[in-house]
Structure formats: structure tokens, C-alpha cells
């Protein structure tokens, strides 16, 4: 099914969870930045794996193991192709974005020296901040923070000014989870490369909203979680340039990642295995590949157009809503409406919307320092995905009006 113009009803019908009622109201799911729902294509791929060919991979040469290994390694090819990786060995399975960043942070901590610097931004999710804090604390390096402007745009001049030959690694989000800001990742990467720094892009929010071509971007690492791309939880990807990854300090040690082992010593295997200790999340990788295949056959341009229409409509409604302030007004942003309502706590807003069947996120969005930078205790965040509709956005604002009346 190729969709040059999008049929939303058809798309929605592929997500069984969207058919349900919550608190006796049709579910309106606006918490897509936290995790997306799963289409039948993904659910069926996981069920098929367990019902038809469950076996451990790369081990016993028996029928099931061969089939399982084939599907598992095919999943790696699917993801490599999706990200435009130069080589399938560059795809490392992780448990998610967080683990991907930890593998890189753990490795860089061994290389950093006092005087070295790591640069991140003010808009980081804790996963892309605390990890580098730890790496710097262990090595004596210092962490630099590139500021944002009040509208939630990264201040590029300040970012560039913080780069120097001391900068060993630069990490930033492709897209901010709390604000929706899309960062100019190619420009930022090019600037970081001028001083010879490694570049890691936190793609947790980017992967489902933009085309990702890692060669074209020019970064060294790009990490994401399957669950934000219509895939299962517990699986994600660390993509790294082969030249960088092949000597990267090993992460966990144990089975699968070794070449030769004696009682005293061990040598490490080749990529990708050297960074994948133990039995991998086989069903997860297969589920992720199914998500990628399903997503790839949709028309990305039409999807982006639809999401943009949702954001535009929501933003207009928000501007007409008394007491509402949008948090995050970057000119380049995805369909995320983060907001505060004067006199209302975001937890109360979230709770009373839930009573009306509407799921949003409220709080600090795992970005406490960003909230402090914006001098906000938190926000309410409605984050849209491809299966949401304009009618749902309208229903959301009617519900929000009721919430406002109750709280004021």
C-alpha cells in the first residue's frame, strides 16, 4: 500500500489500540513523543517469530536457529538500509536510545583527559545529559552547555563559539522531545567536525519525523529507540561509523562478543558482535524491522504534511485559548504542542484530560534543567503522530476548555 495522499482512516485501522474507549470516551492518544502505538504489521511479526521460529541466534545449527538467525540478521540489513548506513556492521542493537548513549559515553570516558570538553545543549533529555556528566566526572573533562533562545531554538552562534580543539565530543538531539524544535543537524555536525570532535545525535524523536541519512549528515553516532517508531519497547539502535566503532571500548562483556577465551584472558570479536554481549533481543529486532518496513512504504512527505497540518491547527487553536502559552516556538518544529495554562498545574491538566479519554504528558519531560532554563515547573505536552486527526485536535481543545473551567 503506497500512499501518496494519506488515507488516515485506513492508517488508523491498522492500530488496534486506537479503537478502544478510555473512561467511556474514544481514546485520543496525544502522547506520541513518549511512545508511539504499534500497527498489526509489528504485532504480527513478533507473534510470528514466537509461533514459528523461536530459537537462539548464531548458535546450534538446527532448522529453527537458522530461521531465527536469518530473520534477525535481515532485520539488521533493513535498519542499515533505512538509515543509509554504509555497512550493516555499523548497526548495533541496544535496548534503546539510553543504552546507545551509554555505550558511547562509557567509551569516551576512557579517552577523555582533564582539559578536554564535551559539548551538549540546553534542550537535552536527561539521557543525553546525565551520561556525559558521568563521563566527564570520571575523566576530569568538562561539560559545556550550548544555550537556546527563549523560543526554544538552539543558538548556533553560541554553539559554534563553544567549540574548540579541546572539544572531543558533541552531542545534541535531532529533535527536542519537550519543545519539538528540529535542530539543523547537518550544520551542527559540520561545525563540530571543523574542530575534529566526534558527533553523537540523539535521534529518539528524529527517527519517526524526518529522513535520516547518516552518511549525508556526517555524524559519528546516531541513536534511537524502536518504540518511538511504531516498534516494540526494549530494542533500539546505535549506528556508528565503522572506522570509529571498530576500536570502540567494549561495553558489556560475556558471550557472543568474544573471539578467543581462556581462563585468564579473552579477545574481542568483530563488529557488530563485539558490542552486543549476550543473547540479543531477537523478537525486538524483528519487530523493529517490521516497523521500519511498514513505515518506509508510507509516503514520508505526505506524513510530514499531515503532521504539520495538525500542528498548525493546534497552534491556531492554542493562540485563541485564553491563558494558554505555547512553550517552544521554534520556526522549525515537529507536531508537539507543549504549553502552560495560567493558574493551572500541568499534572491537573493531564489528569482531567485523562478523565475525558485524552492521553497527554505532563511534567518536566525528563528535562529538568531545560524547565529551569525556561523558569517553568513543567508543561503539558500534546504530541501528535501520523494517525491523529484534526477532529481529535478539536475534541482536545473542547476538553481543555472544560479542564480550564474546573481548575480556575
Amino acid at each position: 500500500m503506497s500512499m501518496s495522499s494519506l488515507n488516515i482512516a485506513q492508517l488508523r485501522a491498522q492500530f488496534p489500540i486506537l479503537q478502544q474507549q478510555v473512561n467511556a470516551k474514544p481514546l485520543i492518544y496525544f502522547d506520541n513523543a513518549a511512545t508511539t502505538q504499534k500497527p498489526y504489521a509489528v504485532i504480527n511479526a513478533i507473534t510470528d517469530f514466537y509461533t514459528q521460529c523461536n530459537a537462539n541466534v548464531h548458535r546450534g545449527a538446527h532448522h529453527l536457529s537458522n530461521e531465527s538467525t536469518t530473520r534477525f540478521e535481515h532485520a539488521r540489513d533493513t535498519v542499515a538500509c533505512f538509515m543509509h548506513a554504509a555497512n550493516r556492521k555499523e548497526i548495533i542493537w541496544t535496548s534503546g536510545t539510553t543504552e546507545g548513549i551509554n555505550i558511547v559515553a562509557h567509551g569516551i570516558a576512557k579517552q577523555l583527559r582533564p582539559g578536554d570538553e564535551v559539548l551538549v545543549t540546553q534542550m537535552e533529555h536527561h539521557a543525553n545529559l546525565v551520561t556525559w556528566q558521568q563521563a566527564c566526572a570520571q575523566s576530569g573533562a568538562s561539560l559545556k552547555i550550548a544555550p537556546i533562545d527563549d523560543d526554544g531554538t538552539l543558538n548556533i552562534d553560541a554553539f559554534v563559539a563553544l567549540l574548540s580543539t579541546n572539544t572531543k565530543l558533541v552531542a545534541f538531539p535531532h529533535i527536542s522531545n519537550a519543545l519539538g524544535t528540529i535542530n539543523p543537524i547537518k550544520t551542527l555536525t559540520a561545525q563540530a567536525k571543523k574542530v575534529g570532535a566526534l558527533v553523537l545525535i540523539d535521534g529518539a524523536q528524529g527517527i519517526a519525523h524526518a529522513k535520516v541519512d547518516v552518511v549525508d549528515i556526517g555524524c559519528d553516532f546516531y541513536v534511537f529507540s524502536a518504540h518511538k517508531l511504531f516498534g516494540p519497547t526494549g530494542i533500539g539502535v546505535l549506528w556508528g561509523k565503522e572506522s570509529v566503532l571498530k576500536n570502540w571500548p567494549v561495553w558489556q562483556t560475556g558471550g557472543e562478543m568474544i573471539a578467543n577465551v581462556t581462563y585468564e584472558t579473552a579477545t574481542w570479536g568483530e563488529l557488530p558482535n563485539r558490542l552486543e554481549a549476550g543473547t540479543p533481543n531477537i523478537a525486538g529486532a524483528i519487530g523493529l524491522a517490521a516497523a521500519v518496513e511498514w513505515f518506509s512504504q508510507l509516503d514520508l512527505h505526505a506524513l510530514q504534511h499531515h503532521e504539520h497540518a495538525l500542528l498548525k491547527h493546534a497552534t491556531e487553536q492554542a493562540h485563541n485559548f485564553d491563558g494558554l502559552t505555547i512553550v517552544g516556538n521554534a520556526p522549525e518544529k515537529v507536531a508537539v504542542l507543549s504549553f502552560v495554562l495560567q493558574g493551572c498545574h500541568s499534572a491537573d491538566i493531564g489528569f482531567l484530560l485523562d478523565q475525558q479519554g485524552i492521553a497527554i504528558r505532563s511534567g518536566d519531560h525528563c528535562a529538568q534543567p531545560l524547565m529551569r532554563r525556561l523558569t517553568l515547573p513543567g508543561t503539558a505536552r500534546a504530541s501528535f503522530s501520523i494517525y491523529n486527526t484534526i477532529e481529535e485536535v478539536d475534541a482536545f481543545f473542547i476538553a481543555l476548555k472544560k479542564v480550564h473551567q474546573m481548575l480556575i
Binding site: N23, H345, A347, L352, Q355, P377, K402, M406, L407
Partner: protein, 137 residues
């Protein structure tokens, strides 16, 4: 501070037939609890495990435990009021005898007292019980 009694609340809540009335009642109840002064909203008085900020202070006088609780979210304040009705101005022994799960069941609000809920009401109840326990023996 004039909170209704436990029985009044159970009667009132049984009377409502939609979520709006129920939660409007809870929000209004929250407005009637005595707030905590800003200078007493210290880190030590924060109850950990709540999504919104909750402060709890206690004071034992002549064998009776007095609590004050406050939150920056109004629904939590209402739930705190419900909790205060059964725990405040009691001896530690009486506090420990309260079956809070049963009370929330009677109010048809069990979902708020499950350990998985992020609003941390369970954490507040546990803190009150721990305080009572420390004075009970």
C-alpha cells in the same frame, strides 16, 4: 479549616453521577485544607515519589498527631484533604488502625491509591503511617 467528616464525604461522593461533579467536589475540598507556609516548604518536608510537589509536616501534641499537607496541584490537594479527614487529629494508634484502601474503595477512588500511580498518594499515606508508627511505641 472546616473539613466534612468521613461519613459526609462518602455520602456526598455517592450522590454524584459524573466525573466532573466528583472531581469538582475533590478540587473544592482541596481548597479547604490548611496550607503550609512558604517558609516551611523545605526540601526535608517534600514527600518523594510524587509527580507534583507535595509537602507534609507533622506535630505531636499531648498524644495527638496533627498534620498539614500541601501541593502545587489542586487535585492532589483534594486527595490530601480526603486523607486528612481520616488521619488528622488522631492518636498514632488510631492512625495505624485506619484501613485507607477500604476508605478509597468506598469513595470509588481506588485507582488513586494503587502503587503504580504517579501521583504519589500512596507515598503520602506511607509517610503518614511511618510517622504514626515512630510515635506508637
Amino acid at each position: 479549616m472546616s473539613l466534612p467528616t468521613r461519613d459526609d464525604i462518602i455520602d456526598d461522593m455517592a450522590f454524584f453521577d459524573d466525573w466532573e461533579q466528583r472531581y469538582q467536589y475533590i478540587i473544592d475540598l482541596g481548597k479547604s485544607i490548611s496550607r503550609i507556609d512558604e517558609n516551611e516548604k523545605t526540601d526535608e518536608n517534600v514527600v518523594k515519589g510524587c509527580q507534583s510537589k507535595v509537602w507534609l509536616i507533622s506535630n505531636l501534641d499531648d498524644g495527638i498527631l496533627y498534620f498539614k499537607a500541601d501541593s502545587d496541584a489542586v487535585i492532589i490537594n483534594g486527595l490530601l484533604a480526603l486523607v486528612m479527614v481520616v488521619f488528622n487529629n488522631k492518636t498514632p494508634k488510631d492512625i495505624l488502625a485506619v484501613d485507607i484502601d477500604e476508605y478509597f474503595k468506598q469513595l470509588d477512588l481506588e485507582r488513586h491509591i494503587t502503587p503504580s500511580r504517579g501521583n504519589g498518594l500512596k507515598a503520602i499515606v506511607a509517610k503518614i503511617q511511618a510517622i504514626a508508627n515512630s510515635y506508637a511505641n
